[in-house]
Symmetry: C2
Subunit: 225 residues, 2 copies
Amino acid sequence: MPKAIVLLSGGLDSATCLAYAKVRGFELYALTFSYGQRHQSELAASRRIAQHFQVTEQKIVEMNYLSELRGSSLTDKGQSIPRPNQTNQIPSTYVPARNTIFLSHALAWAEVLQCQHIFIGCSQVDYSGYPDCRKPFIETFNILANQATKLASEGFPIQIHAPLIDKSKAETIELGHELGVDYKMTVSCYQANEQGLACGQCESCYLRQKGFQEANLTDETRYHH
Amino acid sequence: MPKAIVLLSGGLDSATCLAYAKVRGFELYALTFSYGQRHQSELAASRRIAQHFQVTEQKIVEMNYLSELRGSSLTDKGQSIPRPNQTNQIPSTYVPARNTIFLSHALAWAEVLQCQHIFIGCSQVDYSGYPDCRKPFIETFNILANQATKLASEGFPIQIHAPLIDKSKAETIELGHELGVDYKMTVSCYQANEQGLACGQCESCYLRQKGFQEANLTDETRYHH
């Protein structure tokens, strides 16, 4: 079985992405980051999901750097989480260079594992406008991956897979539903509490609710008020 | 003064790069990584250099991830440091995805600082064949930086500067010499001891010695045998 590293946050998209890679026949390696995100229950969710899908290994990388930078309302408790975005502006929940950093870490592990496949569950449809969730970013990172690494230089090119990139949240949920993903395991809310209960008010909650409605499926997410 | 983030290892190239950015009129922010490299005296060197060039701030990022991966003889003491490379193969001192990871961290800090300039002191001339030291890699990362970030999306493009990319080691040393870099402050050796004394036998020592010889300048590096 070819190996795949899957970026696994503990949210809905990355869980779907993991299930997708599994059904495609990859041996799974999950890469998760603890970067001072408010919703630490996301990490517990990632562990449950990794276990459920029987990944060969999950690495949880401690990354204080991103929280110390205080560049995002997602990592800086001095800022509040905004309501769903009504503008064209990139919201304060954007974490500087997050996906570039995450993918670059995946690249290093890929070299050590001799793994040519990296999966990321980002989408440019029902999303918050984060620039590092768009197709051109993924495509350029793929070019970079093959210029940057010993693995590719030695004849083993690397492929960045973003299977959800053009899917709406509803389409992602439908896919995951077909693949048997139990979305109870996942946490989307930007300010979920320690038990994983959601706020119901942030953009991430909004996109999730909208996705389940459009997919005509029931979400068992519980809310703390 | 425009701001610049300079990747600063404590070696000869990055010290030259810092001096170059300073003379070009940038306000300096130095970014250094502690990633389990054998030559920890490199970190002490980076502090001396940062202080000497009066950087506004130096961040030293703790990154255990790269050492835990054990993907390089530079971070894994179970492997020995090879003699200078006589082949076309990428030597074991290559650290998986190192420059991609370092530049991605610089990108995050750049967004927080609203800084549009990132300097990296890599060269594709007298080097060890590391793929992430070559011009196409730098060019692609520059494209990526502008696709990936909020800063660029909001009209502030980012420029990756690699002023040494086409310089031989001798040319770099000549440039630094003109700029008044005191190379005594720098550590190149892959296995320098705690006092910063060099082995004189690794590829990095070899390239440094060759560079000083070709530049017809005296290197005051001290060796431990």
